[in-house]
Amino acid sequence: MKIVEKLFLPLLFGLGLICVWEALVIFYEVPPYILPAPRDIAVSLWTDGPSLLAALAITLQVTVAALILACVTGVGIAVLLVQSKLLERMLFPYAVFLQVTPIVTIAPFIIIWVDSVFVVLLILAWMAAVFPIISNTLLGLKSADRNLLDLFKLYGASRGQTLRRLLIPAALPYFLGGVRISGGLALIGTVVAEMVAGTSGESSGLASRLLEASYRLELSRALACFVLLSVTGYGIYAVLNWISHRLLQHWHESALDDSTSA
């Protein structure tokens, strides 16, 4: 019953939407350069599949690299900021700048300063992804149980021990919440960066291919790219969600199964 509701209902809704779309395109005889029918998109997905997947692999490489970099640097920055209130007051506003500045406005400078296209994309995607990890991890590091902190003090724990054994585990659920947000942002950042950087040719990612196809009014191919990117975004979320659940399932409220609760 549960699996039917979780899987079948959304699929049914999507299928219905596609049928209505197909019917409308046929009924009103919409030309494919305005709105292609779902069938055309499916054909494009099939025939252009290999080349689109190769482009997706390039986009995905940047996305995953940016997300990993964001995790490492985000946690590093949060751990640094939690060391002293003064440091946090001094540096946190700049983390906020990183978040609120549209990466499109920074992209031109990065493109001038950095040669490698991969590194340009990586920097921009990282900028889009890192803030939720910094702010969530910082919140988590500060949310450790006061009594447990007292206990660590009582037993003469060093700063390193307190960090490793208490603060970091306590921050893990918050960090993972941040990563789930950042996963989507890393993909969005990569896509925007590809479009701004105007990469083309063999080594171009899926967003460049989407732009290229739309310039040529090959809307079915452009939409095929769009479909692949959306599915990828959803896939990233699902994978991160699964990892988060696996890491927390023994102890955190957010990952409670009915079967294991006391």
Binding site: D150, L154, Y155, R165, P169, H250, W251, A262
Partner: protein
């Protein structure tokens, strides 16, 4: 005033605490605690019982006075049991109990055996790999006690540890705690609201006045160890509790007038 059969372990000389807000939590208090004593602190909410405990633990610095121990500067191994079990939810029962030992160094096989022994004492032998949320409130408190006694403390501080438990569990844990103390003879300071609990457990009861807190009575409890659950139905026990209750009531009335 402490029992002559106990050599002194801990001395508090005119210890007081005033918070930065100006609130006086504890009036100057002087006490001597004998080695192996089970001392309860009873008093109304906000009388500074917990503050006193935190000062003894070294978690809160006193505003005046000082705490000295018989064995020198910080020679006392101290265990602390909080009002909540305060377990690390991401660690299993045995990992939680191992914490005080692991913070000193990595575990020796002798210490691993010690953890098993302690878990057996508190009745959690079969739950060593369980996570805290899989346990009942009473079992979590047992794990918390196991953690506090695993490093063979000189001094065990308990801050209203059984307040959140139902009456049966509470009585059972009182008896088990007493059993452990009779066996191990660490010195215990037990903070509670419950006069009956204090008398049942301790050889000495300190009664505190309402804020700003002060020790107004220091009483030896006239019942022999080992104590049996039947003590709770004893007339002398009830009378003794009633007399403490009266002293407390008159001090509260005095504070309010």
């Amino acid at each position: 005033m402490s029992d002559l059969s106990h050599s002194p372990l801990l001395n508090l000389a005119t210890v007081s605490k005033t918070f930065s807000s100006g609130t006086v939590a504890l009036s100057p208090t002087s006490l001597t605690l004998g080695d192996g004593e089970f001392v309860s602190l009873v008093g109304p909410s906000g009388c500074g019982k917990s503050t006193l405990l935190r000062i003894v633990a070294g978690l809160t610095p006193p505003s005046t006075g000082e705490v000295t121990s018989a064995s020198g500067a910080d020679g006392l191994r101290t265990g602390f049991v909080f009002q909540e079990p305060t377990l690390m939810p991401w660690a299993t029962v045995s990992e939680n109990v191992a914490l005080p030992l692991q913070l000193k160094n990595s575990l020796t096989s002798q210490e691993s055996d010690r953890i098993s022994t302690v878990l057996e004492w508190v009745g959690l032998k079969d739950f060593r790999d369980a996570y805290p949320r899989e346990l009942s409130g009473g079992m979590r408190m047992r794990a918390s006690i196991a953690r506090a006694i695993v490093q063979q403390p000189d001094l065990l501080l308990l801050d209203e540890p059984f307040v959140a438990l139902d009456e049966f569990t509470r009585a059972q844990l009182n008896e088990d705690l007493l059993r452990l103390w009779e066996d191990q003879k660490w010195t215990a300071i037990f903070v509670t609201h419950s006069i009956r609990e204090a008398v049942f457990l301790s050889n000495r009861v300190l009664v505190m006045s309402p804020r700003p807190g002060q020790v107004i009575a220091d009483l030896q409890v006239p019942f022999e160890y080992p104590r049996q659950p039947e003590l709770r139905n004893d007339h002398a026990y009830a009378d003794f509790c009633a007399s403490i209750s009266q002293q407390l009531a008159s001090s509260i009335a005095g504070a309010n007038s």
